[in-house]
Structures are given as structure tokens and as C-alpha cells.
């Protein structure tokens, strides 16, 4: 009787071990991209973009630079923000948040018809202005930027044993076009560690 019970339990346990896992439906749910925290060694997550942007925006708004603008809103153009990381990243993930914040503040607006190398971010707006000028004969007034925003995103990886310290540094400068001087500069870093597992299969 006892042997039979042990045998039954053994067969049951073996069946459980070798049985294919029950098919589990993938669950998909919406999350708040600003709330969900995902830390990845090879990517900058939305929450990290948000964190870097928040620090830079707070730094800019807390400085006296915006208070010194004579006739707000001033006009800002986005210059080169260099990606010095090993990743393919969309710089807009950072600059757009800064643009939205500055727009909300009412101190600085961003031009979409004046861009780096003469390229307009919104070519249709530029064409429409030119067409309107051609048809109406009236000279359209495109406001030239008072400020430009430029910067760099750097990546550094320092390894010690199994642990790697990954640091992304965000550097931004706001330049006064008339004087050519950087009237605001800031640097913020996001660091994370990645640890390699001891055993790999």
C-alpha cells in the first residue's frame, strides 16, 4: 500500500516536471510612461529621459536667465544636440520636454521654421509663409531666434569585477544669438549599475 502511494506520488511529480507549461495568454496593459520605471543597461528609459529633463528644466527655470528676457516670449531655435553614446537615440526625447516646459512658462517659444543648416523642422509652415508672401506681395515676418539650444549626451562605462557603472551625462547650453555667449549651461547625469550573473547557461 505504502509502496503504491510512493509510486503514485513519484509518477505525479515526474509528470509535473516534464509537462509543458500551461499556455499563458500574454497580458498587455497600458501604463503611465512617466510612472513606470524600467532600468536597462543598454537603453535610456522614458522615466530616465523624464528625470534628466526635469533636472535640466528646473535648473533653467530656477536660474535668473528667463527673468532677464526683456520682451517675453523670446524665440529659441534648436541647434545641434550631439549623441556621443553608443545607442541610436532620439534627441527629441529630451529637447521636446524642455521646449514644452519653456512654452508653458510663457518666457520662450521655439521656432519650427528656422533650423540647423537652414532646415526647417516644419517645412510646410515655411513654404506656406513663402507662398503667402508671393501671392499677397506682403513681406512675411519670420522671427529670427534670440537663443539657441545646443548640447551633448555622453555615455561612460566603468567596469569593476562583474559590475559595470553606466553613466549618461546630459549637457545643455542656451546661447544668446546677439552676443554669442552661453547664458545658461547645465549638466545632469543618470547613473546605473549592471551586474553580470555568476552562472550562465
Amino acid at each position: 500500500m505504502k509502496t503504491r502511494l510512493i509510486l503514485t506520488l513519484l509518477v505525479g511529480a515526474t509528470a509535473l516536471v516534464f509537462a509543458p507549461l500551461p499556455a499563458r495568454a500574454d497580458t498587455v496593459r497600458q501604463v503611465d510612461p512617466k510612472q513606470k520605471k524600467v532600468v536597462n543597461a543598454t537603453q535610456i528609459s522614458p522615466s530616465e529621459w523624464s528625470e534628466a529633463a526635469e533636472k535640466l528644466i528646473s535648473n533653467l527655470l530656477s536660474s535668473d536667465v528667463l527673468a532677464r528676457i526683456e520682451n517675453p516670449p523670446a524665440i529659441m531655435a534648436i541647434s545641434r544636440v550631439r549623441n556621443d553614446t553608443t545607442m541610436q537615440i532620439d534627441i527629441d526625447s529630451l529637447t521636446k520636454k524642455i521646449r514644452v516646459a519653456l512654452n508653458q512658462s510663457g518666457k520662450i517659444l521655439t521656432t519650427t521654421t528656422v533650423g540647423l543648416g537652414g532646415k526647417a523642422e516644419d517645412p510646410l509652415a515655411k513654404e506656406a509663409a513663402e507662398y503667402s508672401q508671393f501671392m499677397g506681395g506682403e513681406k512675411q515676418e519670420t522671427r529670427m531666434p534670440d537663443f539657441t539650444l545646443s548640447g551633448k549626451i555622453q555615455e561612460s562605462r566603468v567596469k569593476q569585477g562583474r559590475e559595470t557603472l553606466i553613466t549618461y551625462t546630459f549637457q545643455l547650453s542656451l546661447t544668446d544669438v546677439r552676443s554669442g555667449l552661453a547664458i545658461w549651461e547645465a549638466e545632469e547625469a543618470i547613473a546605473k549599475t549592471s551586474r553580470k550573473g555568476g552562472v550562465s547557461w
Binding site: 527655470l61 530656477s62 527673468a67
Partner: protein, 138 residues
């Protein structure tokens, strides 16, 4: 015998948990005159309330008309902790003002460490604020 066993266990636990606290030095006659705002606290997580102390919320205006707040927070534990906070800005009409940077942010405090956390409203329409705290479990 029992007492020494408890002490040894406590010391062992402290050693395992990586107990590290922070000492700080400050002026006895500070020159700062912060404008602290009276606050009302809603506590739903008693453990969190005993874990972090928010000792003063100061407010000022920057860039002319943008509300900036700063609070002093202290980790009441003897070991490091990760927390999250979020600031919501409220307009004159009592409605929340969306901001591109209003998500949850993480901060890290060593044992008994006190630090300042600040936030700046991106809109001049912001006249009030709500600060939310939670433990960072992720």
C-alpha cells in the same frame, strides 16, 4: 545569556543589511530665512510615514512668476532607502496643470540622511501643489 544573544543577532542583522548612516555639520546661526508654508498631511501608509520625515516645505517664485517649492526630507532608518515622489501643480481654479515633467521621481537616502528636494512649476498658472511620496519597491 538571552540578552547577549539578542544583541549579537541585532549586530549581525545590522551588518547584513549594510547599515550606513550619515553625519552632518551645519552652522549654529543659519542666515537663511525660508518661507515655510503650513501643510496638511494625509497618511494612508503608516509605515512610510515612520520611514521618511518631511520637515518643512518652503516656497518662492523663480523666473518672475513660476512657483518653486523645496522640502527637507530625512530617512528615519539606519540604512539606505529608495523613495519616490511626485509633485502635482494646481491652478487658481483648483484644477491640476499638466507638465511635461510631472511623473514619479526616485531619490535615494542613506541612513538618517537629510536632503532637500525641489520642484519648479513650468506654468505661471500654478499657485498650489500636492506632493506625493511612496517607497520605491521596483
Amino acid at each position: 545569556m538571552k540578552k547577549s544573544l539578542i544583541l549579537a543577532l541585532a549586530a549581525g542583522a545590522a551588518l547584513i543589511s549594510g547599515c550606513s548612516t550619515v553625519n552632518s555639520i551645519e552652522s549654529t546661526s543659519p542666515q537663511t530665512r525660508a518661507a515655510y508654508v503650513p501643510d496638511r498631511r494625509l497618511v494612508f501608509d503608516g509605515w512610510l510615514a515612520e520611514s521618511i520625515e518631511v520637515s518643512g516645505i518652503a516656497q518662492t517664485y523663480v523666473s518672475g512668476d513660476l512657483l518653486k517649492i523645496e522640502m527637507k526630507v530625512r530617512n528615519l532608518h539606519r540604512h539606505y532607502k529608495d523613495y519616490r515622489y511626485r509633485v502635482e501643480w494646481i491652478g487658481k481654479d483648483g484644477m491640476a496643470i499638466p507638465s511635461p515633467i510631472d511623473g514619479w521621481k526616485t531619490f535615494h537616502l542613506e541612513g538618517r540622511e537629510e536632503t532637500h528636494i525641489s520642484a519648479t512649476a513650468t506654468s505661471p498658472k500654478a499657485v498650489d501643489f500636492i506632493i506625493k511620496f511612496m517607497l520605491d519597491h521596483e
